[in-house]
């Protein structure tokens, strides 16, 4: 009796998932046909006018920091909230699972990788409006540096090099700086975070100093994401 019950339960769960698959199939079929109807006025506008309106040739950056800059502010708040919750939930204790048993080859490799990672992260953030990548990716690359230090030498060395209080300060500077830069849009008589109207560093599209507020917003988001991820990783790795 018990076994048949179990089998029936499993069949019920599998049936639920199969129903979900059929449902998704019908929805995705509609989505798949979306392209042929030419219903994407908004994307067409972004692709044809985006470079002239924002000055950034990377259209994803122009959507993230100009057209939908307010949503990016909310997105960054999610990281801030996650880091705050983690440093609140996870008790600060010594890490015991990590021990320095790496060979000298691993140690030296990690030591030599760190400068290159710093350069790559800085490049991705600074050229976010001109090239693939951007501040979120660059921030993650920067966050790898303390994570690698934690993995190679343990959490004490990593937190000695990058102090938690300083990381929190950097994260807060990123969040507050984003909002303060957003007010430049208000000062020029337009909306909050409207980088298209802020007359600030309009160069030719394709140069490093161009695209108005977008490079500076990129830097803010980059240091914010990097510091936030480093806090999250080091908080999770600490355990008794």
């Amino acid at each position: 009796m018990n076994r048949t019950n179990e089998i029936l339960k499993n069949l019920y769960k599998i049936g639920l998932v199969v129903m979900l698959a059929i449902f998704l199939l019908s929805i995705f079929y509609e989505m798949h046909n979306l392209d042929s109807d030419r219903k994407r006025y908004l994307s067409e506008h972004y692709i044809s006018e985006g470079v002239q309106e924002t000055g950034a040739i990377n259209l994803v950056a122009s959507v993230l920091y100009d057209y939908r800059g307010f949503d990016t502010l909310g997105e960054v708040t999610v990281i801030l909230t996650a880091a705050a919750i983690l440093s609140f939930l996870v008790p600060i204790r010594k890490a015991a699972i990590l021990s320095n048993t790496f060979t000298i080859i691993v140690d030296q490799t990690i030591k030599w990788m760190i400068p290159f990672l710093a350069v790559l992260g800085g490049y991705l953030i600074l050229f976010g409006h001109l090239s693939p990548g951007g501040s979120f990716v660059g921030g993650v690359v920067l966050a790898i540096i303390p994570i690698l230090l934690t993995i190679a030498y343990g959490v004490e060395i990593s937190e000695y090099k990058f102090k938690p209080s300083k990381k929190k300060l950097i994260e807060d500077i990123g969040a507050v700086g984003f909002i303060l830069l957003g007010f430049l849009g208000v000062l020029t008589g337009s909306n909050f975070l409207a980088s298209g109207q802020a007359n600030f560093g309009i160069g030719n599209a394709g140069e490093l100093i161009s695209a108005r507020l977008i490079p500076y917003l990129n830097v803010m988001i980059g240091i914010k994401v990097g510091a936030g991820l480093a806090i999250i990783f080091n908080s999770l790795i600490k355990e008794k």
Binding site: V17, F28, S43, I47, V78
Partner: protein
Amino acid sequence: MEIPFVVVIILFCLGMYTIITKKNLMKIVIGFTIVESSLILLLILVSYKPGGTAPILDKGYEIVVDPIPHALALTTIVIGGSVTAVMLALVMKIYKRYGTLNIDEVRKLRG
């Protein structure tokens, strides 16, 4: 119907199956990340155009893919990472409190 969409559906259902059937909390977290990956793949597929390049309007590129789903995929990745981190912290707290990761055991111990 094309094959990538079928792959997305298979991944999504695999993740949902993991979430609703497994008892181990770590496996449930893994199921959530599988579902999230399938959604990112779906966003990339929706924005696809035949012959399109990345949405960077440098000289000589005429056909580019749709930039909006790419921005949304970035949002999905960031929020998914944050949610996964918070879930893992909660799993750590539950393990410390109850000494087990099985949800049935946790329910039993609670009484």
